[in-house]
Amino acid sequence: MKKTNISIKIFSFIIVTTLFLSGIFIFYKFYDDSRDTTEHLLEENIQYNLLDIKYFLEKNLKKNNINQLRSYLNNIVYTNQIIGDLHLLDNHKQLIYATKNDIEVKEKENCIHISKIIDSDLFKQECYTFKIKLYDQLTPYYYTASIYLDNDYLDSLLKDKIVKYTLFFIIYIIIYVLLLWFLIRKIIISPLEELRRFAYYSTEAPRSFLIKEFESIRYSLMLTFRRLKKEQEELYNLSTKDPLSGLYNRLSLMEKITWLISKSQRTNEEFALLFLDLDNFKNINDSRGHEFGDQVLKHIADVLLSSVRENDTVSRLGGDEFVLVLADIKNNNIILDVIKRIQSSLKEPIHFENYKYHITCSIGIAIYPKDGESSTELLKNADIAMYKAKALGKNNFYFFTEHLNQEVQERVEIQRLIHTALENNNFKLYYQPKVTIKTNQIVACEALIRLEEPQKNLLIPPNKFISVAEESNLIIPLGEWIFKEAVKQIKRWENTPYKDIKISINVSGVQFKDKAFLAKVEEIIKDVDRSKLDIELTESVLMNNFDEKFEIIHAFKKLGLSLSLDDFGTGYSSLSYLKDIPFDTLKIDKSFIDDIEEGKDNSFIKMIVTIAEELGLEVVAEGVETKEQLIYLQKINCSQYQGYYCSKPLPVKEFEALFEKQHCSKK
């Protein structure tokens, strides 16, 4: 059953009304008792008066002597306010005396015997009678006396009492109810209302209350709200602050930017967003552990906070990414000053546990409203600019430009194309022949990836998308696809005139990040003649995390794959690679070949060929485009070449057709 709620006001009203009604009842009873007491006293007075009269008359009244007694009787009536009149009737019912002669003799029916006075209502009864026993010698006879009450006097007594009591009652009740209402309001309703407001708004705690229970509730509420406020602050900090650095988090940053956008829309003021990323922070984490990394981040937070102005905002998005919002930018000098202060502070090495570490950062800058009208856009563009800064060589900053944006958009588009191409098989392998210089025979080829853009019917070259694929790790599925496709081709060429052609595949350094890389390769090549598959690795691939890659490369070798060192001569050209890795082939970079005719780097080429000979390695010259280049290579005993002089990379059919011609000499 649903309980009906009533307000404290209604409850108090009920209590006050109940008290009021109780008051009426008590006052009525009081009045009634008082009236009864008065009546009783009056009755006693009448009884004693009648006793006197009766005694007097019985002792003194004789036949025909009433006139002698008249003055006495008159006195009794006139001196007694209650008795209005006295009538005396003889034994023949004849009136022989009436105090007030002008009053008519009243009907006897209105009178009751005096003995019934207690049971009668004095204020309503008109008269009482009694017998007077007289004797004629020893023979009794009876006179009748009737006492008429002074009803006007009795009424006035009653009226006075009623008026007095009513007035007293009304005044008392009004004062009592007002006082009670005031007290209820003061002690109960107001505190409850204050408690309600306090419970609802939880702002200012009410003063102490008189009622113990209310005080207890107030105190409990205060404690609860204090705890809630503390928890709220903690929650607020958790939701708005980065727990590690104490800087604002992404959510707060977005709010701040949104607020600044609104403000700037009104004031036409510009503000700048600085996207800051630590250079090589991953290396710090990897080499010194996350604990140290966290200390670095805290230090950076301090550096940033000390570098900005008071009204600027510093936030940490996560990892080693920080965003600074510089409000009210009048010119770029303000931005540059901040950056200068940051870079200056970071020049000092960080000291942790007797360890010094130099750290730099790359900063991308976007300015509202020029570089974006929304927080997301500004953040994205600052991020783009930061990447550009990083690409420019780190410890740098870069202002976002539209051109930069287009570059990024292009990369995003290429990334999308790679995704689509992987799903729709839009990638194609093109094959560029490797030719034995002495015989001019095509003996091998390098598989080169091409991306077809079916809607525009374009063929996108690898230099446009490989770097994007590497950045986005799409190179891993793409590399896997290349492996599979090359192996398929080898399989297809089995038992054909092309069965001896060896296919070289380029492997990106990113592919080594794939923990299942080796297993996947093993699986792919399990059913093919592995001597027909060659893996080309550039020096740049070997430069980073060599130790991790070392084992995989050796495993390739164990699987029966041959290894080529691509673009040799462009990197460190470290001979240690040749020592540590069992390469089969050295590929001389095209830049050396390009300069053959000018004779600039010929000694280098010759030296590479000599080293290869010494080490028993094949040498392939890349990018051979002219007869002169080929002649030179032939002269220094370079075994193979690859380049447009023979053929550009060709689709498989065209490559097969070229192979069938059995020579590559165009001229």
Binding site: E44, Q47, L50, L51, K54, Y55, E58, K59, H113, I114, S115, K116, I117, I118, F130, K131, K133, Y135, Q137, L138, P140, Y142
Partner: protein, 291 residues
């Protein structure tokens, strides 16, 4: 909720207790008379208080009757004379408990002998006219054939009569009753007739009340009857002890006078059938009397 119900019930009980009417006090009006001693005894012993009754004493029967007449008291000790008088004046009065019959307790005193009285030309007869005195005197007059015309009836209370002195020049008759007779005898008066030897008259003392009280207070009246029975038994068992208790009600009398007075009455609280039969025509109906 249980507490709420408990409180409500408690309040109701308190309210009921507050509003329940107590037995109202019954006031008995009496006057000095040896036959009413059981009531004095019961009052002093607190027996009456136990049943919420109170005894008030008056100088005379007339005064006592007047109080009843004006409604100041609820019960009255009286003789059949007062009973008849009150019955005549619109009272629904009934006898409820018989107390005693006068056996010499009412008497006529004189300063003369019977022959002297009979020979006297003028007799002054003092009496409470509106009392049993009148019946006693009438019986005396009738018995000794005294002419009413030579008698002057003087109406006086017993207390007033105590001042009467023996004047040998006059023939005086004083109708009195115990214990007033003792004082009068000291003044030289002697008993010429009493209810002991007056066969034609029987003086009954009883407790009277309104019919309405009889109906509404029957239970208490039965208790009163038992108290009276008990008091009479205790008085009879220990007259000395009872004298000490009641002497204040009987005026200035000694123990011997008390003993003498007791001899002048007969207790009829438990009347014989014969007596009941005799007094029935006088208005003492055994069906009304509390036995």
């Amino acid at each position: 909720m249980k507490i709420f119900y408990s409180l409500t019930i408690l309040l109701l009980l308190l309210f009921t207790a507050c509003t329940q009417e107590q037995n109202s006090k019954i006031i008995i009006s009496t006057n000095p008379w040896i036959g009413y001693t059981p009531l004095y005894y019961a009052e002093k012993k607190g027996y009456l208080k136990d049943i919420n009754m109170q005894l008030i004493t008056n100088v005379s029967l007339a005064e006592s009757t007047a109080l009843y007449d004006v409604g100041k008291v609820d019960m009255i000790t009286a003789t059949q004379h007062e009973y008849y008088s009150l019955r005549e004046t619109e009272h629904n009065i009934v006898p409820i408990i018989l107390l005693d019959r006068s056996n010499g307790g009412d008497m006529i005193l004189s300063n003369k002998t019977i022959p002297e009285i009979q020979k006297a030309k003028k007799i002054y007869a003092y009496l409470e006219i509106d009392s049993i005195n009148a019946e006693v005197l009438e019986d005396f007059m009738h018995y000794y054939k005294l002419d009413k015309d030579k008698i002057e009836f003087i109406n006086k209370d017993q207390a007033q009569m105590l001042d009467l002195q023996n004047n040998p020049k006059h023939t005086l008759l004083i109708v009195s009753y115990s214990p007033y007779d003792i004082t009068l005898k000291k003044h030289g008066f002697h008993t010429v007739a009493s209810t002991k030897d007056m066969r034609s008259i029987i003086v009954i003392d009883a407790l009277f009340t309104d019919k309405k009280i009889l109906q509404t207070e029957k239970k208490r009246l039965r208790k009163l009857k038992k108290i009276i029975d008990r008091s009479i038994q205790e008085i009879q068992a220990d007259t000395k002890g009872s004298f000490i208790i009641v002497k204040a009600f009987l005026g200035d009398i000694g123990y011997n006078d008390y003993l003498e007075s007791l001899k002048l009455i007969k207790w009829i609280n438990n009347p014989s059938e014969k007596l009941l039969k005799r007094i029935k025509p006088m208005g003492f109906d055994k069906n009304i009397l509390i036995q």
